[in-house]
């Protein structure tokens, strides 16, 4: 299998999810921010400010194109127009990385704008692998597939998440994007052991790590229910899990995701510095 941990064109330092309101400050004083991730869907227009900003940023920063609307886990066929838009963006931008989610968001031409879960079974595995083959073929570059945050389980599931992700990577040659906050959220919600999850994960396939904030709630039985909100700081237990991840799997390009209630840029810079502080000593070893 391809070793994504050494082949990534993203630097193994901190990046942030790009928000247009940070354009000026980010360029003036990036601090520890060395690369950027964009949501592909926000850059699918024909021109105007979004593409002009992206063109300017790409001169300074390696860019990761992160799709949120492809619906790789969908039961139906992929949206050919959407694949074409992704290809158009990637051809134009030549990003350092291209990633999507193990989730679905479109059903019968209805786009639901959320990352919805799927059962882990031989049947869904074949479908997801076929979809990834199709995307990688059409876009003409390898993809990283991200582990999801999940809130419920499927009675139909017959294999665990890591086995499922690893098998997909083996079949398609794609890499993986390890979202450590998603690991924490899913492990809490599903009562899995997060340390065991991290230690079992195939780190050689990981081309990028995500860190983000979540909200805390409870289900109707009083069990903890964490919600992947991307609306606040990364919490301490997730930082601890990230620290463990880097010790176990080595340094990786690490993204701070903050998509809702977006803070002032200096706050993101601090979060990026915190990731850097964990990466740097391991990098130096």
């Amino acid at each position: 299998m391809y070793d994504f941990s050494s082949s990534s064109r993203l630097p193994k330092t901190a990046g942030i999810g790009y928000k247009p309101q940070h354009f000026t400050e980010l360029r003036a004083e990036p601090g520890p921010v060395t690369w950027l991730e964009i949501h592909a869907e926000n850059y699918m227009g024909d021109g105007g400010r979004p593409l002009a900003q992206l063109r300017a940023l790409a001169e300074t920063f390696p860019i990761s194109v992160h799709g949120v609307g492809l619906s790789i886990g969908g039961e139906g066929p992929l949206d050919k127009d959407h694949i074409a838009r992704l290809k158009h963006l990637c051809d134009w931008l030549n990003p350092a990385s291209f990633s999507e989610h193990l989730a679905w968001s479109t059903h019968e031409a209805h786009f639901l704008n959320d990352l919805l879960p799927l059962p882990y079974s031989p049947e869904t595995l074949t479908r997801v692998a076929d979809h990834i083959d199709e995307v990688q073929e059409a876009v003409g570059r390898p993809m990283l597939l991200e582990n999801p945050s999940t809130y419920l389980a499927f009675e139909d599931s017959t294999m665990d998440e890591i086995t499922f992700l690893t098998e997909i990577a083996k079949r398609t040659g794609c890499g993986l994007l390890l979202d450590v906050n998603n690991v924490f959220v899913s492990c809490t919600n599903q009562i899995w052991d997060p340390i065991e999850y991290i230690e079992k994960f195939p780190h050689r396939l990981v081309g990028e790590i995500h860190l983000g904030g979540h909200d805390e709630d409870e289900d109707e039985h009083g069990a903890p229910l964490l919600i992947d909100s991307h609306g606040r700081e990364v919490v301490d237990p997730v930082w601890a899990l990230y620290d463990h991840t880097i010790k176990v799997g080595g340094t990786k390009p690490t993204l701070i995701e903050w998509d809702n209630d977006v803070p002032e840029f200096p706050i993101l810079r601090e979060e990026a510095a915190r990731a850097d502080a964990i990466l740097a000593p391991v990098q130096a070893e």
Binding site: G48, Y151, L152
Partner: protein, 247 residues
Amino acid sequence: MGQTDFTAALLDPEKPVPEGLVDPQGRPAGKRFDVYRNNVTSSLIAALETGFPVLQKLLGESSFKTLATLFLRAHPPTSGALQRYGDAMPGFLAGFKPLASLPYLADIARLELAIRTSYHAADHHPLDPAGLDPEAMMALTPRLAPATHILTSPYPIYSIWRMNMVAGAPKPAPVSEDVLITRVNFDPTPHLLPPGGRQFAEALDGCTPIAAAIEAAMIAAPRADIAGLLTLFLSSQALTLPTEKVQ
């Protein structure tokens, strides 16, 4: 349990949670399914709020939320790119009985959609008449720039838009209004089209000289202020020459 049932239950809170979805103890996933329901609904409402700020002001936050919720169930997005989400809103409003007493809302929705479309439209080289003598200028055959839109309405949609977006703007008078939307650099701006303006714009198809478009304007509005019209279209960068493309 397939994605058809899952989707139907996501969009309809009256439907029961599909079978086969469970918590870690194997109990039916009630509130856990609602997380997905809330994500879908609230993210699409947020997209509509961003896309229709004037509609939201006109209706108030909570009525807009009700409208948005009904709209998204009837018209979920059809594309993973949400730039165009809401293009069914004018039609939805036109047939929406509870708001029939506010018939201008559909045209306000059209105006807001046009502003959004203009924001994402291709860049253009604006027609620049500097250095041209008047005769050469009259012979040019520009077309509307990709970011330029023309809207007509039997309602004062420009004035309604302006009253809600510009502090101190006057109250609308009950007149029909035509609107020109243009983009200088990155921010679309609506302008009120003076008499003859719509006919002038509609004539400019890339092979009609400006002189002929002026004639069309004067036939429609014999007292049209032609100098003012030309100034508006040139200063707002509404026009481009057919051969020029920006990469």
